[in-house]
Symmetry: C2
Subunit: 132 residues, 2 copies
DNA sequence: CTACTACCTGAAGTGCGCTTTAGGTCAAGC
DNA sequence: GCTTGACCTAAAGCGCACTTCAGGTAGTAG
């Protein structure tokens, strides 16, 4: 089954990689780690991803990119699996994560300032050197 | 030799850790990796760090915190060792790094926006749920 | 029929930045 | 003289997030 139809509702692994920017092997890894629990299969056992899967993987990437660990992601997913009554807990988890990211952001910004100082220093030092 | 004098010009490893927030083992590791080449020793072979070492380690931390690899840091250090004529190259290296950090910063910020959307969603969903 | 490609699995491997371990030395205090 | 604690070294180990490998299947094209 070669699915090249852009209107297809189910994405093959290759198309999923195309759609999300996430490597096929990483997608399988996420599945193994229970971060992606609802992926369907076709009659020959091949994965077929839904548009919901696409959205979810995008969320996973945002959380990973901001440094959430696989372990924490698993916790978050498991809460999701357990139904709507876990929403307060999930909110809590996100709020905590958000705070950590905000803090790290400030640290990066202040590191960037020091880098800018050094850049400024080299810049003027080089200008000085080429002047006489 | 137990150096507890706050006016001492040379810091022991423990004091260096205190001053920079960098683990003793990590400092030794940096030295092994040639990121810290001028550390002095006392008569019994123990390290004594200068105030310049403190400043340099702070620079190293800023660069590490913003994701520069040990390998790149080594390149940067080696240029420094080679004298003032390498300043343009060092500037180039920092400018390149700066650009990468800036880009990553934008990605984190946009990931944070998505997280905020989810937080907003849970927030209003939970309020709705408690409203019969 | 054969070849090819896309997919499948469990398990092992990789890369990076530390961190720990094992086995020492040295100077000071009791 | 003995212990203690801070330090030393080379080498091995660790944690994390993937990534690769070895060996297999299913469907399509020539």
């Amino acid at each position: 089954m070669t699915n090249t139809n852009p209107l297809a509702e189910w994405l093959t692994p290759a198309q999923m990689t195309e759609a999300t920017g996430v490597n096929i092997d990483t997608l399988r890894y996420y599945e193994r780690e229970n971060l992606l629990q609802s992926v369907k299969r076709n009659s020959s056992g091949h994965r077929r991803y839904s548009s919901n899967d696409v959205l979810w993987v995008q969320v996973l990437r945002c959380l990973r990119q901001t440094g959430m660990t696989i372990e924490q992601l698993r916790t978050y997913c498991n809460l999701g699996e357990q139904g709507d009554h876990t929403e307060p807990e999930r909110l809590q988890l996100l709020l905590q994560h958000r705070e950590k990211v905000e803090q790290e952001l400030q640290e990066i910004i202040s590191a960037l300032k020091m880098i800018d100082h050094k850049i400024e220093f080299y810049d003027s030092s080089i200008k000085q050197g080429s002047k006489p």
